[in-house]
């Protein structure tokens, strides 16, 4: 019994005294933007404003059950002031859950930041340029042998967002039929977009769907890969902006607003583009990268709300299809 009493005393003594976050000169941010990209930006904010930033970073391996669910769980006593997301669907979900407050006008709960695009990455050693897949349908073509095409699980992250966008554009039946064809053709479903990139770069896959930041990283490292913007003659490429929002009831609202304004600015967008996280600028002052002709880029025209609305159905049906 003595050992239990000692333990209880330790916990009671230490737990309540260690709550961080509530400090006028600090701000707490939860972010799913990769630490390697976001950390220098947050440091720059601290240097400029004198406000100490306390970040919590998400990781891909958490399968999006990390910080968004934490924000929902903390809704009654928020620890975070700012939510900075690498995409928009989870931000809209948080808006629906009442986790966010308007940060740009009376009914705007989030602000977009430079975007990434969903692209096809192709191994140029294994596929001639004339044979590059140009559309998403091409990836389900019977000319590919089983195991030559790869996608990440369409249940998590930007791959799930793209699936929801196809549900919104084609309708649930056609979208589900497409994913069924992809599965039946023997497409390899792997752990994440970075894995698709690595497998294509290593020649273990001929082509796959991934994000521009992942694909561009492989190109910059000199891997034998090419980037194809899918469906430029059809429904278009999905561009996914990052989003930044203010958490309702956060401990440092004023510092939070300053950080939101900073992150949504043109300067941060340029830094994100320089570091390779974003490729599609939203601010006119930031030129797009040379390899991406944004002015001619045909993007999918499904609205963010329509995509977010389709996300639960897409996740449910694709889970039945792929996780078996």
């Amino acid at each position: 019994m003595r050992n239990i009493v000692i333990f209880a005393a330790i916990v009671i003594a230490l737990v309540p005294g260690c709550r961080p976050g509530a400090d006028a000169r600090s701000v707490v941010i939860y972010t799913s933007v990769d630490q390697v990209h976001s950390e220098p930006i947050l440091r720059a904010f601290t240097e400029r404003s004198g406000i100490n930033v306390l970040p919590v970073y998400d990781v891909e391996a958490a399968k999006t059950v990390g910080l968004t669910n934490r924000l929902i769980a903390e809704r009654d006593r928020p620890q975070a002031d700012v939510w900075w997301n690498g995409e928009f669907a989870q931000t809209l979900a948080l808006e629906r859950e009442g986790v966010l407050v308007p940060c740009a006008g009376a009914d705007k709960y989030w602000r977009p930041i430079a975007g990434r695009a969903r692209v096809i990455i192709v191994n140029t050693d294994l596929v001639a340029e004339a044979d590059f897949p140009r559309t998403r349908e091409d990836l389900a073509d019977e000319r590919w042998q089983p195991g030559e095409i790869g996608i990440a699980y369409p249940l998590f992250g930007t791959t799930a967002t793209e699936a929801a966008a196809l549900y919104a554009t084609w309708g649930p039946d056609d979208a589900l039929a497409y994913y069924r064809r992809l599965r039946d053709s023997g497409a390899r479903v792997v752990d994440g977009n970075s894995v698709v990139r690595d497998l294509v770069a290593a020649g273990q896959l001929k082509a796959g769907l991934t994000d521009t930041d992942d694909a561009r990283g492989a190109v910059d490292r000199g891997a034998p890969v090419a980037i194809v913007l899918p469906d430029q003659q059809g429904i278009g490429t999905l561009v996914i902006p990052a989003t930044v929002a203010l958490v309702a009831g956060g401990p440092n609202p004023n510092a939070g607003r300053r950080l939101v304004d900073f992150l949504a600015g043109a300067e941060v967008e340029r830094i994100l583009m320089d570091s390779g996280f974003a490729q599609v600028p939203l601010h006119a002052s930031n030129p797009p990268p040379e390899w991406l002709n944004v002015s001619d880029l045909k993007t999918m025209d499904a609205s963010f709300d329509a995509i977010a609305e389709q996300l639960p159905l897409a996740q449910q049906q694709l889970r039945e299809l792929f996780v078996r």
């Binding site: 333990f7 976050g21 919590v56 958490a62 970075s194």
Partner: protein, 512 residues
């Protein structure tokens, strides 16, 4: 009776508190999808994969442990615990290193016109996961063999050849502990989705995550965890109840006489083959990570960049290691009991192993919303997740206590506190040290719950590793993994050193 009940209440409150905090969400259970035939097929396949993984890990781990078990003195005796350092590394890193090594090997095989090795699918997943769990399987087998009474072996060797002593005395007596170890390996394999999903295999654990990701409602994964809890109960029934009957005496007092055992050539060959696989596993992991890290300078840069995370990881793991000890000791006493009480305790201790880690994290968040969170939350997550390991080690240690020493101390000491400190704590120290070391290592490598409860501005080395994994920073990841392994070797080395000194202290007669 009241003291027993209080112990139970405190244990349940701390270990199951996060889960209990989620119970109100079960009211939303009608909103989540019910278990379908797909779930049960997936669960069946996952059980098959985990069983195959366990079988392979134990088929290598047990013969390797049999060989290393004979190393009683000298540097080899200390080196035999070295492979356990690999148990600290996330299974995902094992998979990355082995797939890279496999891809390199396939290039050579293709050049020779030979068929290539499968780098994804069920076979690859089973093999890689088994290699990731091999250090643990070996360590648990060593622990089981260490529980066999030396005097029984000595008696057997005077009458029969060593091979018969092995089959008739050593293995039957060690079997309960070895089967219990295999049960733990099975449950860990069942709950890991990282290796299978990297190697394109769908498992039930991934589906639990998908359910949580899609619904954002803990009720779904809670319901989906129920079949896993049933499986944990089966494992407890099949293994740990037998552990209680394992013959054992204090190992520190054992001194086996005679020379090394002489086994038939086939058995010796098998043991050395298994040891070669184990050594190859260690070698491939360290060589692969060292090659990916680059130079020593790169390693130092990785360490310098992560110094804040290293400090926080060390503090978190240390707190968890200390806090878990009284709980583990309490649970071990409960598990050692006879009848329904002992069985209930064994189930209570084992069940947390199959609770999805994010649920423990979210449960802790719910508790902290009411009571105030803080820097200790990641440590409490480690306590909630890994106290079962400490409890099982403590149970093994309890079985080694010599009751004569305790009786003697009661005669000589009048105050129970003095008896406890000077005798019982002294005798339990090796188990406490081993438990703390294991919990320290596991907490340092934890991700699923830590990610949900990490205080703003703080992160563990494992969180940093996974962050850089996504980015593709292989040098940084490899450097940090090497640091984690070095930390595990360091912690294990210190524990072994302390155990050695303790052993001499007791056997020289200066202790009790």
């Amino acid at each position: 009776m009241i003291a027993r009940a209080l112990r139970l209440v405190v244990f349940v409150a701390i270990i199951y508190g996060p889960l209990l905090a989620l119970l109100p969400h079960l009211a939303d259970a009608c909103e989540v999808s019910a278990m379908s035939a797909r779930h049960f097929v997936l669960l069946g396949r996952s059980v098959g994969l985990a069983a195959g993984t366990t079988l392979f890990a134990m088929l290598i781990g047990l013969p390797a442990a049999l060989l290393m078990w004979q190393w009683r003195d000298g540097p080899l005796a200390r080196l035999r615990w070295l492979p356990l350092a690999l148990a600290l590394m996330p299974p995902y890193v094992h998979a990355l290193v082995w797939t890279q090594a496999g891809a390199g090997l396939n290039v050579q095989l293709a050049a020779l016109g030979l068929p290539e090795l499968p780098l994804h699918g069920w076979v690859a997943s089973c093999l890689v996961q088994a290699l990731a769990l091999l250090p643990l399987a070996t360590g648990l087998s060593l622990l089981g063999l260490g529980m066999v009474q030396a005097r029984l072996i000595e008696a057997g060797r005077t009458l029969k050849p060593d091979a018969q002593v092995l089959s008739a005395i050593v293995l039957p007596l060690a079997a309960p502990a070895i089967v219990a170890g295999a049960g733990l390996v099975f449950l860990l394999g069942l709950m890991d989705y990282s290796v299978p999903s990297l190697l394109s295999v769908n498992v039930y654990a991934l589906d639990v995550f998908a359910e949580y990701s899609a619904s954002g409602n803990p009720a779904g994964p809670l319901l989906m965890a129920l079949p896993l809890l049933a499986l944990a109960a089966v494992v407890v029934l099949a293994s740990q109840s037998a552990l209680r009957h394992a013959a054992s005496v204090p190992e520190l007092r054992q001194r086996e006489g005679g020379g090394p055992p002489r086994y038939p050539a086939w058995l010796t060959t098998l043991q050395w083959l298994a040891l070669t696989v184990l050594a190859l596993n260690v070698l491939v992991m360290f060589a692969g990570l060292a090659a990916a890290t680059g130079s020593v300078g790169d390693l130092l840069v990785a360490a310098a960049n992560a110094k804040r995370e290293i400090g926080f990881t060390f503090a978190t793991a240390l707190v968890a290691a200390v806090v878990c000890l009284p709980l583990a000791l309490t649970a071990a006493h409960g598990m050692a009991a006879r009848g329904a009480r002992g069985w209930a305790w064994r189930l209570l201790v084992t069940a947390p192993l199959v609770i999805p880690a994010p649920l423990i994290g979210i449960g802790l968040v719910e508790l902290s919303v009411r009571s105030g969170g803080g820097l200790l939350m990641p440590a409490l997550a480690g306590v909630a997740r890994f106290t079962p390991f400490a409890a099982i080690i403590m149970l093994a240690q309890l079985r080694r206590l010599d009751p004569l020493l305790l009786d003697a101390s009661r005669v000589l000491h009048t105050r129970s506190a003095r008896t406890w400190l000077q005798v019982r704590l002294t005798l339990l120290a090796p188990g406490l040290l081993a438990s703390a070391t294991v919990v320290f290592a596991l907490t340092a490598g934890e991700l699923g719950a830590t990610l949900v409860v990490a205080p703003p501005g703080w992160a563990t080395v494992t969180m940093r590793i996974y962050n850089y994994l996504h980015y593709g920073g292989s040098a940084e990841v490899a450097g940090l993994c090497l640091l984690m392994a070095a930390g595990a070797v360091g912690a294990g080395g210190l524990a072994a050193l302390a155990l050695g000194r303790w052993s001499r202290f007791l056997t020289d007669g200066q202790g009790t």
